[in-house]
Amino acid sequence: MEFTLLLAAAMAFAAAVVALRWEAARGNAADCTRDLGEILLTASVVGLFVGRLVAMVGSGVNPLTSPMDILIVRGGVATGPAVLAAMVTVAWAARDEIVVVADATAVAALAALGGWHLGCLPREACLGSPTDLPWAMTQPGSTIGRHPVELYAAAIFLLAAATLAVARRRRIPAGLAAATALIVAAAGRLLTEPLRPSLGGGPVWWYIAGIVAGIGAAAWALSRQSVSSPSPARPEP
C-alpha cells in the first residue's frame, strides 16, 4: 500500500492549521462563531469524495457496484467538481457568515495548497517537463533534467499566502481576500500546468473559470467597499 498521498494531505492540513493559528493570533475573524479548521477539513473531505465519484463515473466505474474504489484516490479525482463541492461546503457551513468565513480561510486555503504541492517531496513526484536550467532535478537512475514543477507551485502558493496575510493587516474590502485567493489558486495551477506531465494538458478550462470567478468576486467586493479585515490583536493587560 502507498500512503504518500495521505502524507501530502497531512502536510496540506498542517499548513492550513499553522496559517489559521497565525492569523487567529492577529485577530482573524474574532467575531466569527464557526470553527474555521473544521470547515476547511470538512470541505476538503467532501471535495475529495465528490471529485473521486465524478472521476469514477466519468471513467465508467460504477460507485455503487464498486464502492471500495472510492478510496482509491490515486485512480483519479476530478479537479473542477472537487473544488466546486469544497466551495459549496464552505458556503453551506458558513451560511450567514459566508464572506467573513471565506476571507478568514483564504490565507489558510492558499497555505494548504502550498503544503499539498510541497507534499511532492515524500511522494517523489515533484518533476515535470525536461529542462537544462541549473536547478533542474533528475529522477533516480535518470540523467534527464526536469523542472521541479510542484516545488514551483508550492513556492507560488506559500508566497501568496504570506503576502495575503500581510495585506489583510490593512483594511481591505470584505470578500477581497477570498477573491484574491481564488484568483491566485487558479492562476498558479494554470501557470504551472504546461510544465506538468499529463495526457491531455490538464483541466485548464477549470482554472480559467476559477480566475474569471475570482475577478468577478473581487469586482463585487470592491464595489461594496465594506471592510472585514482582522482587527489588530489586543495587547495583554
Partner: protein
C-alpha cells in the same frame, strides 16, 4: 427528509449506470512466456509499458481507464501490453470488454504469474513495468498508477530510448 426522494433517484440513476458487457468480440488471451514477451518487445523496436492486471483486482479497475487513454495517446511511440494474471479467461475477457474496448493494448495471459516474477515484479497487482526497446526493464511501478507518473515515465522511456 426533503432530500430523501432526490437521493433515492440519484442512487437509482447511478445504479443504472452498470452495464452488461458483451465479450463475444474479445478473442481468448494467448498464454505467453517471458521469452515471448521479450521477443515481442524487441521485434516491435520501441519501448513498452507492460501493465499487470486481473479482473478481481479493484485497483486495476481504477487505473484501467487511464491506461486505455494513454495507449491511444502514445500509440505511435510506445507499445502497451496488458498481462493478465491468475484470472479466469471469461472474467478477463469481460474486464477487457468493459474497460479496454477500443484501447491500443495487446492483452496476453500469464496464468501463474511466472512472467511477472521473471521481470522482477511482485505477486501483488496492479503493477506496471516500463521496458526499454531492448527489453530491459527501466522501472517498475507498484500499485495503482496515476496520470502524472505514467506520463512522466513514458517520457523518460522515450527520451532514454531516443525514439
Amino acid at each position: 427528509m426533503k432530500l430523501r426522494r432526490p437521493l433515492v433517484a440519484l442512487v437509482l440513476v447511478i445504479a443504472a449506470c452498470g452495464t452488461n458487457v458483451d465479450t463475444s468480440s474479445i478473442p481468448d488471451l494467448a498464454e505467453v512466456s517471458t521469452d515471448d514477451i521479450i521477443a515481442s518487445i524487441r521485434q516491435a523496436g520501441r519501448p513498452a509499458v507492460v501493465n499487470v492486471w486481473a479482473s478481481w483486482c479493484g485497483p486495476c479497475r481504477s487505473e484501467a481507464p487511464l491506461l486505455a487513454a494513454a495507449s491511444s495517446e502514445y500509440r505511435n511511440i510506445v507499445e502497451f501490453i496488458g498481462l493478465n494474471v491468475r484470472d479466469s479467461p471469461e472474467n478477463a475477457k469481460g474486464f477487457i470488454a468493459e474497460f479496454f474496448g477500443d484501447a491500443a493494448i495487446r492483452h496476453v495471459a500469464d496464468s501463474d504469474g511466472s512472467v511477472v516474477a521473471d521481470l522482477g515484479g511482485a505477486t501483488g497487482v496492479p503493477l506496471t513495468f516500463f521496458v526499454n526497446s531492448d527489453a530491459s526493464v527501466a522501472k517498475i511501478h507498484f500499485g495503482v498508477i496515476d496520470e502524472r507518473t505514467l506520463a512522466l515515465e513514458v517520457d523518460e522511456l522515450v527520451r532514454a530510448d531516443g525514439t
